[in-house]
């Protein structure tokens, strides 16, 4: 508490880096306060450190594009279906505007990046969700791109890796969004019947329809430390049970204990750990 007060006096930025990264003010401030260890750290230092706190290894959110670069060998990533964009099928009010706004802000056209690439020399299919694009919600383009990527894996006998980061369904696409859960899950079933491995990687946050579909279907499921992972969000559960949630509820470590994760892997070890698992599967 005293530390916090002191830091306030010094006039350091008080917002979390997550929020910070999404605002246009990023470049105006140099310092940030880590939400885990309360240290004051250079934003630049965080950015250059895979968005990890250099003091306590806290995992800040990482943009999808940076994640691709982190996992895939340089210059080997070939993006698939990068021009697919959502249409407003339900004529939902203000959906187009929202899409435009997020496209401008995130410089991405949708909430998932899919493609092929090499991971320490091994050919893989990689899908990375982008929580900066409409909360990483699954519209039909997210479902379609992910499904096509899985189908690509089946066709070319490649392992599939999906990095999840999502708030759930995309409300503006209603039932069409819901059905993407079935579409992606059945594609993974086909992948499975073809004997190909699927590694699911859960990052902060993985909730809603994503968790209740491909996030939980990995042959091997790993998560970054301290990520929020759940079906219903904490706010909704709190409303339902009218009680405070226990400490650590729905965090990676909680899910590991409850049997839903194979392992928790720090971002720094992620690429090597995936590589090791793929090797063990004969790649």
């Amino acid at each position: 508490m005293i530390k916090k007060l002191l830091s306030k006096e010094k006039g350091y930025a008080q917002v979390s880096v997550n929020k910070k990264f999404n605002t246009k003010n990023v470049d105006e401030k140099f310092w940030i306060k880590c939400e885990s260890c309360n240290s004051n750290i250079f934003i630049k230092e965080v950015e250059e450190n895979m968005s990890l706190c250099p003091k306590c290894n806290h995992h800040f959110k990482l943009s999808a594009r940076k994640r691709v670069n982190l996992l895939i060998d340089e210059k080997t990533f070939e993006e698939l279906d990068k021009d697919l964009v959502s249409m407003n099928i339900l004529k939902f009010p203000e959906y187009e505007e929202k899409l435009e706004r997020y496209t401008g802000k995130s410089k991405e056209k949708e909430a998932v990046i899919t493609g092929t690439g090499k991971l320490n020399g091994i050919d893989v299919i990689l899908c990375v969700m982008n929580s900066e694009f409409m909360m990483g919600s699954m519209g039909y383009i997210v479902g379609e791109k992910t499904t096509r990527a899985i189908e690509n894996g089946i066709e070319n006998k490649l392992p599939v890796i999906i990095v999840c980061a999502s708030g759930g369904a995309r409300m503006q696409e209603g039932i069409i969004s819901l059905m993407q859960m079935a579409k992606t899950s059945q594609a993974l079933n086909k992948l499975s019947e073809n004997g190909l491995p699927y590694i699911s990687i859960l990052t902060d946050p993985t909730t809603g329809g994503i968790t209740a579909s491909f996030a939980m279907l990995g042959d091997i499921i790993m998560a970054e430390p301290n990520a929020l992972i759940g079906f219903a969000g904490p706010r909704v559960i709190k409303q339902t049970i009218k009680q405070d949630l226990p400490e650590g509820f729905q965090k990676s470590e909680f899910l590991l204990e409850h049997g839903f994760l194979d392992l928790i892997v720090s971002r720094k070890n992620m690429k090597n750990k995936i590589h090791q698992i793929l090797k063990m599967h004969g790649y």
Partner: protein, 315 residues
């Protein structure tokens, strides 16, 4: 506005007619002209109201306490039924019922969300909101059906999977995901009928099917109208407005090619004449099952896969 509100002008008119009849009888006055006129008016009123229900009125109708439930339809469409309990892992979740029934002369596995028909039963049934063990029981019974080559009928009627602490602890997400995954490769035909509320992933967990039908006044949506309005507009009271933009009625979903069939309800909703509704439903099921008799496993799996594969493909 709840379902009673929808019926209010109708009930008023019905009362008026009853009153006229009473007066006529007791005072021996001929009011047949007036009564006839009112009766005609009643028919028109009913048509007008029920054929032009707003989305929000349908939401309320689909949720109304007297709407028939899975067990009611089972009773009406099956000559025999045995309920099977339990997920063989943790619990028997009473928010989902399942078992084997005979429809026509065909044994089928039937699984459905089960709401209560009074407060006590609703507590027992958790208002039709399953825990993970409900989905796992459903999957167990589906795998059993597949083993014995029985078609599967699922009834969808849930506000959603339960959002509680224990449900999360025991893997609500995993349970639903697993069902989507496993249902997609079942070698027997699966027919789903939304009979009331088709709420989100909790509904879809029984809904990866070869055919998806909806009762006329049922709904199927990614979130509740209340949920949508509070997320988008930070105001749960705008649920009725939300309902209108959501495309959650059977006719909306039929137009969107999400469902295959709308099963007609009697005027005023299924509860007004459950036999009528059940007959229509039974007819549809038997017609569908007869079609699958001549299809092989691969065709059945392929049909189901294609059905969901194309949602958001050719757009």
């Amino acid at each position: 506005m709840n379902s009673l509100d929808i019926d209010k002008p109708i009930i008023e008119l019905e009362n008026k007619i009853a009153e006229f009849e009473k007066i006529s009888r007791e005072n021996n006055i001929d009011l047949s002209n007036e009564i006839n006129m009112l009766s005609n008016k009643l028919v028109n009123l009913k048509n007008e109201i029920y054929e032009n229900l707003t989305a929000w009125q349908k939401v309320n109708l689909s949720r109304s306490g007297n709407r028939p439930t899975t067990e009611d339809y089972i009773k009406n469409i099956c000559s025999e039924f045995i309920e099977f309990h339990g997920d063989r892992l943790y619990k028997d979740d009473k928010a989902i019922v399942g078992g084997i029934g005979i429809i026509g002369d065909m044994p089928v596995t039937i699984i459905g969300h089960q709401k209560g028909r009074d407060v006590k039963e609703n507590i027992q049934r958790n208002f039709g909101m399953p825990h993970p063990e409900g989905y796992r029981k459903a999957l167990r019974l589906m795998k059993q059906a597949e083993k014995f080559n029985r078609p599967i009928i699922t009834f969808i009627d849930t506000p959603g999977a339960f959002c509680g602490l224990e449900a999360e602890e025991r893997g609500q997400a995993e349970a639903i995901a697993k069902n989507l995954f496993e249902m997609s490769s079942l070698k027997v035909p699966v027919i789903s009928i939304v009979i009331g509320e088709g709420g989100s992933g909790g509904a879809l967990g029984l809904g990866v099917s070869n055919k998806v039908a909806m009762l006329e006044h049922s709904i199927y949506s990614v979130i509740s109208p209340e949920g949508l309005s509070s997320i988008l507009w930070k105001d749960a009271s705008k649920a009725n407005e939300a309902a209108e933009v959501m495309k959650l009625t059977s006719s909306d979903l039929y137009k969107l090619n999400i469902i295959d069939k709308i099963i007609k309800e009697p005027l005023g909703g299924a509860q007004k004449n459950i036999e009528f509704t059940s007959d229509k439903m039974k007819e549809y099921i038997i017609e569908q099952l007869n079609e699958y008799v001549n299809k092989n496993e691969e065709e059945i799996v392929f049909e189901r896969y294609s059905k969901f594969r194309k949602i958001g493909y050719n757009l």
